[in-house]
């Protein structure tokens, strides 16, 4: 373990350097691309923290999806009038000092924590057999803290509602204003033909292994969302108008199945979101499958943004 220490220290320094460049970069584009690199690097850091589930999520969402979203926004904002409001040096210095204090306080607190802090890990592992799962993180997400996960899905839907409601009045139920690639039959078209089949297989694989190994609905859904966006950007497929029924069904499918399974727990087991003994795994796998679809649709629509044009049909 100790031989890894210096490599870890190097990784931490690199993460900090790239993180700092997202803040101090002069142009927004530089900051956004640094954020992509930063997200991908953090995935390696999470692997070093033995949190492979988190590493998968961070690489997909932190690096890929958020980075793409920011890069798209930067490109749009190029047309904005430059604004040269800048804080004066004394204010910046004072702010820097205060922020350094916050960071130092936080770091100090962390180092002062007792080495053996209370943990739920043994309890989580002990009861994992009852769920039939092999991945403790999936156990937390879908059995012990299932309510949190359910509500998180609701939060995602609320965020999407927020994004959609930013559409102009006449574009409600229109097509999302995602920027597309202008030229047909280009190299990008080729990439959009080659990569999605691979991505879909990987996405389903992620969802499938999630019960027993790192992976799951979030990671699988994110890959599917990214592949869908790629196909739309390359103009191989049109972005759906936000009013379409199948799209709306896809959005609520996961939360609805989750909720139904939760309500079934009231009858077949001893409470809301309790699974009947012995049947926990089939329940969880069904929920995860439905959630993967919903997460894919929600994330893709969130990245696509509010609708721009009225549907032409």
């Amino acid at each position: 373990m100790s031989s890894w220490f210096f490599a870890d220290a190097g990784l931490v320094l690199l993460v900090l350097a790239i993180g700092a460049s997202t803040i101090f970069a002069r142009k927004a584009f530089d900051a956004a691309i640094a954020f992509v690199v930063y997200g991908l690097l953090l995935a390696i850091a999470w692997v070093r923290l033995s949190a492979i589930d988190v590493a998968l999520t961070e690489a997909a969402i932190g690096g890929g999806m958020t980075g793409t979203l920011l890069l798209g926004a930067v490109a749009r904002l190029r047309s904005a009038e430059p604004d040269n409001i800048r804080l004066g040096l004394p204010v910046r210095l004072a702010t820097g000092f205060c922020c350094a204090l916050v960071a130092a306080g936080l770091a100090g607190t962390l180092l002062l924590l007792p080495e053996a802090i209370p943990t739920l890990a043994p309890a989580a592992m002990e009861n994992l057999v009852h769920t039939g799962l092999g991945n403790p993180v999936a156990g937390v997400l879908f059995a012990y803290r299932a309510l949190d996960t359910l509500l998180e899905k609701v939060v995602l839907l609320l965020a999407l509602l927020g994004v959609w409601s930013l559409a102009p009045n006449n574009a409600w139920n229109g097509i999302p204003g995602l920027r597309l690639y202008e030229r047909p039959n280009s190299t990008l078209t080729f990439l959009a033909q080659i990569l999605p089949p691979v991505g879909i297989v990987v996405g389903i694989y992620m969802c499938w292994v999630g019960a027993n190994a790192p992976g799951g609905a979030f990671q699988g859904g994110t890959i599917l969302a990214a592949m869908w966006l790629l196909v739309i950007i390359a103009r191989l497929e049109n972005a759906p108008s936000t009013g379409q029924l199948w799209l709306r069904i896809g959005l609520v499918l996961g939360p609805a199945v989750f909720l139904a399974a939760g309500l079934a727990g009231l009858v077949s087991a001893n409470g809301f979101l309790a699974y009947p003994p012995g049947y926990a795994k089939p329940f969880i796998v069904t929920i995860e499958f439905a959630l993967t679809i919903s997460i894919a649709v929600v994330l893709a629509m969130l990245a696509a943004g509010p609708s721009k044009q009225v549907q032409q049909e």
Binding site: S3, W4, F6, A7, G10, L11, L13, L14, A17, I18, S21, F29, D30, I33, A34, V36, V37, L40, L41, A43, I44, V47, R48, I52, A55, L56, A59, A60, G63, G64, M65, G67, T68, L71, G72, V74, A75, R78, R179, L180, Y181, L188, L191, L195, V198, G199, V202, M206, V209, A213, P214, G215, Q219, I223, A226, L230, I233
Partner: protein, 90 residues
């Protein structure tokens, strides 16, 4: 063998770190884009070595993710590159 794997992983990390720091200083946007691509290959190599060294094969899945999403950033860049008419930027 584990110590050797560790050595190689650290070495690759160091070369990537050097490359990243230099690239992110460059003014041209394409150069910065290469940083993501650099991590797409070098990061994958580090993760694969880690997967073998710590005998945790799910780490290879993280490498898979890294490869998929490093390409994705480039797609966004190529899509958003400005019109050839107004290339007046540094």
């Amino acid at each position: 063998m584990d110590n050797f794997l560790f050595l190689i992983a650290s070495f690759i990390l160091a070369t990537i770190a050097g490359g990243l720091i230099i690239i992110l200083q460059r003014p041209a946007e394409v150069d910065r884009l290469m940083a993501a691509q650099l991590l797409g290959t070098g990061g994958v190599a580090i993760l694969l070595i880690l997967a073998i060294a710590t005998k945790a094969s799910p780490i290879a899945d993280v490498a898979l993710m890294l490869a998929l999403f490093a390409a994705f950033a480039t797609v966004a860049f190529v899509r958003d590159a400005p019109d050839p008419q107004n290339t007046a930027r540094q």
